[in-house]
């Protein structure tokens, strides 16, 4: 059972929950947790959320983006307050996880709130003092939707190469990033080349991940090096 210690707004649609988790066993960056809410009449709902905090972090943090017709995310992002409790299970997931000791290069490709587990990896990279060649390509609708914007600016100073692309105009004044959906040229520009055998982690809505994974394989990356985590509707 966990208690919310603090809630932090990240963007107009997303909040970070800082949690007190008694007996938390630790985690690897990229892993997620299962959250279960119970209503007064016993009704329950469960969803999975990626861990945003690094394994080295003092607190367990989840970043939740509000989905309009969601059942759990509107509660967590609008109603929940410090002191509220719910059940949490984890960490879960041995496939979409990265440790600095595994080495790199590391290529992270995120769409929207798919950045959350990738941010845990970058935070871990920084906390571990690793000098792995790390590159992030983040696709977001607009600059207001970019999670952890200030922190990404700081990481871009030295921890990782950070590339952004905005898919819905207009771009802010002085914007030097891309302004289109990810494509082959963009991924080729971000690198690294396939012969450097990067470990690749792609996370985001399903259509984004499908396209990114397809492009990465087309560029020559080994399919088994492309780890994917998809979420959300496929629109079918």
């Amino acid at each position: 059972m966990v208690t919310i210690r603090e809630i932090r707004a990240e963007t107009p649609h997303a909040k970070t929950l800082v949690l007190d988790v008694p007996g938390w066993p630790g985690h690897r960056s990229g892993q997620h947790v299962d959250v279960r809410l119970t209503a007064e009449d016993g009704y329950q709902a469960q969803r999975s959320y990626s861990i945003a905090s690094a394994p080295e972090g003092a607190d367990l943090e989840l970043t939740v983006e509000r989905i309009d017709d969601g059942e759990v995310s509107p509660y967590l992002t609008e109603d929940a307050q410090a002191g509220d409790q719910f059940e949490l299970r984890g960490p879960i997931g041995g496939y979409f996880a990265w440790d600095a000791s595994s080495g790199g290069p590391l290529l992270l490709v995120g769409g929207g709130s798919g950045l959350v587990p990738l941010m845990a990896m970058l935070r871990h990279l920084r906390a571990a003092g690793s000098d792995v060649d790390a590159r992030l390509l983040l696709s977001a609708r607009s600059i207001e939707d970019v999670l952890y914007r200030d922190e990404l600016d700081r990481l871009a100073g030295g921890t990782a190469a950070v590339h952004l692309t905005l898919t819905r105009g207009p771009a802010p004044p002085g914007w030097t990033g891309w302004t289109r959906r990810i494509d082959r040229a963009m991924l080729a520009a971000v690198g690294p080349e396939p012969d450097r055998r990067p470990r690749i982690y792609v996370c985001g809505p399903t259509p984004f991940v499908e396209e990114a994974a397809r492009l990465l394989v087309a560029l020559g990356h080994e399919p088994t090096s492309v780890h994917t985590e998809r979420f959300g509707p496929t629109g079918e």
Binding site: A213, R230, T234
Partner: protein
């Protein structure tokens, strides 16, 4: 021990959802989410084949044309993903695994489904026989999309859907149980959604 009440949480009760059809911890979706480990393999039908082998008296394999000429069934089933979504009344067309094993004299108790892209999953043979499993190549009357496992996927609707291996190319029988891809990552070896067997130790 009663779970903690999440203050103010009411949830969204969908009255049109038949609660008896929803396993514990699941929610019903009308979408068809895709959750695969890695890029989607794309195998041409000319390159595709299906093989039954291993601990078996008579190994067998079929080309796509041979496979789709086998007796097939169309079934409508509910499916349940370990990531919490369930989808009711999904319609699939495929060859029953019973048909694939007919006359092969299997002597192994366990089967591993092996697939393009390297995915595997393991099941006791009892879970894929007796009319409980198919190798499906159509969904909703249309050829199965690569994203959803096409050209063909295993369909075992009574277990969590990671056991319904996408991009299946064969069934390998064995006297020993060999945990597959997700089972090796900590997911439950058996995966009964009605007992909520999501992870090892459940």
């Amino acid at each position: 021990m009663t779970p903690p009440i999440s203050r103010g949480f009411r949830g969204r009760r969908r009255s049109e959802v038949d609660a008896d059809r929803l396993p514990p911890g699941q929610y019903a979706t009308s979408d068809f989410p895709v959750l695969s480990a890695g890029p989607t393999p794309r195998t041409s039908l000319a390159d595709w084949s299906f093989a039954v082998g291993g601990a078996i008296g008579q190994a067998r394999s079929w080309t796509w044309d041979e496979f789709t000429a086998l007796p097939a069934e169309t079934v409508t089933v509910d499916i349940h993903c370990v990531t919490k979504w369930s989808k009711f009344d999904t319609t699939w067309t495929g060859v029953p695994v019973d048909v694939l094993l007919e006359g092969t004299e299997p002597w192994g108790d366990f089967v591993v489904a092996w697939c393009d892209g390297g995915y595997t999953t393991n099941l006791p043979i009892a879970e894929v026989t007796g009319g409980r499993a198919w190798v499906a190549y159509e969904y909703g009357g249309e050829p199965l999309d690569a994203e959803h496992g096409g050209p063909a996927r295993l369909l075992v609707p009574h277990l969590y859907f990671w056991k319904s291996a996408k991009w299946i190319r064969g069934l390998n029988l064995s006297a020993e149980d060999e945990p597959g891809f997700w089972e090796n990552y900590g997911y439950h070896n058996y995966g009964d959604p009605w007992k909520e067997q999501r992870y090892w130790g459940d």
